[in-house]
Symmetry: C2
């Protein structure tokens, strides 16, 4: 099934207890695409400025990633993000952010992408997410990500946008902020009611090293994170999770609720590769063989001894 | 297999977003025993003062709990704890604590309990834990709980005590404090090396609403918490978890690593009952039927769709 992602490409500066990297490639669309590409083809819609480093080119040359929707906009500057992590690496502190080209008009969804069946709208202003979504004809599953900023400052627009998507990916603080509900399963059930009523409604609550909670239709299930002994840089873990999850679903001809659980395993495993290196280093080391092996290991970790 | 618990009985005052309760029964030994008693007989060793309310009597009259080791000490006062929780209910703030009888000499392990095979030493001064343990002849599995206080202020005694136990139950902050390791799986492996070398070494890292990580011999596995929509009072969740886990193992003639995983399911489920009411209210509502049903539901939640 065709998979489309709209999101950012950024020039990142990241500091973690394991070191500092400057001007490395980052951004939601990049992590999502590289994670998803292990399971299905990916259609990328994103925009960079003409200052985008040549060294980023290799990240756009992936046999499974169609970059027809990647715009290099003359006279504009690429999105930049700088952040650092405390020793537990659970929380990123943004030390600098310059939207640059992301504050201008959105890129265009190429005509050949308009028939995409699964769409991931990475976090940005909800009105921009809707502008991009409007260019896709009849998607079967639309999942959006969001951030506390959009929930608190563009609440009305966000609420309106939720009515047009089937799924929302967010973290625990964001779910509490959106619903006023402290209890997470209760917050998720409230969010489900805000989504497009006709779709396969899905709420995925990301909790970083503590895993995630997923509500898909009436099925609620928790899943821990894959235990990773060496975390180098958590940047991009959430988008890699979404990429693994939706890439997995896109690789299937159709899916049921139980496939969604397999997809969450795929997302969890892709996030675990991402955090094992700076930028795309971790994801670049992953291939179908090691991914399948880690998925099998993780499933065994979750189920061995619990089923006859 | 015989199961012994040493721990506290307290007069608690608890405030949560769901209300306030004064002079209710609490304490590690109480929660542990009531959770464990659903799976095996429990031998209780604890001490109260002669001010212990008559209303507590019913908590000590349980067909599966042998209170031969419960001492009512004349002239002493019962342990008291007051605490409150923030809206997320992840962290308790102790507003008052008076050790009273817990600061005096330990209770005596009755002679008929000296052959106990599984021993749980609830958190207290490590030297007192060792004094109690010395009265048990040849236990097969000894698991201790600890707190940040003992790790930071009685470090030497704690380290010495770990050499005499097979398992340690602690939370993430405590594991980091004990090892200086931020990464949790790495911290757990370091703790495993501190335990009695000959035993079935077990490290259980409790993360509250985020579940737990267990290391048993070479098997490391994460397990999420049971998603509970209405959390009334988290007090006693950790001790109920330990009670469910060790009670489950005590109910088996012998066990392997995979039984430990089932035991962690039992512990997780018992904790989920505890937090659904103040004091013992939640645990008192649980019986073998509802416990078996929730364990089956939880196992299905964890495994459905992930195994053929």
């Amino acid at each position: 099934m065709s998979l489309l992602v709209t999101g950012s490409i950024g020039i990142d500066c990241v500091t973690t207890p394991h070191g500092k990297r400057e001007n490395i490639i980052g951004g939601s669309a990049v992590y999502f695409s590289w994670a998803a590409a292990n399971f299905s083809k990916v259609r990328l819609v994103a925009v960079v400025g003409d200052d985008c480093p040549r060294s980023f080119e290799s990240a756009f040359k992936h046999p499974e990633i169609d970059t027809a929707g990647l715009e290099r906009r003359a006279g504009s500057k690429t999105f930049r993000w700088s952040g650092s992590y405390d020793p537990t690496m659970n929380e990123a502190t943004t030390t600098a952010v310059v939207l640059n080209v992301l504050a201008e008009k959105t890129p265009t969804v190429p005509k050949q992408f308009a028939d995409s069946k699964i769409v991931f709208l990475a976090a940005t202003h909800p009105a921009l997410q809707m502008e991009l979504l409007a260019q896709v004809k009849s998607p079967r599953l639309v999942v959006a990500d969001t951030r506390d900023l959009w929930i608190s400052q563009y609440h009305k627009e966000l609420i309106a946008s939720l009515k047009k998507v089937d799924g929302l990916v967010l973290n625990d603080l964001e779910a509490r902020l959106l619903t006023g509900q402290v209890n997470l399963p209760a917050a998720m059930k409230q969010i489900r009611k805000m989504l497009k009523p006709s779709g396969p409604r899905m709420v995925v609550l990301k909790k970083g090293e503590h895993g995630c909670l997923t509500l898909y239709e009436d099925m609620l299930f928790p899943m821990p994170a894959y235990p990773t002994e060496k975390v180098i840089d958590p940047t991009g873990a959430g988008d890699s999770f979404a990429g693994g999850m939706l890439g997995y679903l896109a690789g299937l001809p159709r899916w049921s609720a139980l496939h969604v659980k397999q997809a969450v395993v795929a997302g969890t495993v892709m996030a675990s590769f991402t955090i094992q290196g700076f930028s795309l280093d971790g994801l670049k080391k992953a291939n179908k063989t090691v991914i399948a092996a880690r998925m099998a290991e993780f499933k065994k970790m979750l189920t061995a001894g619990l089923v006859k």
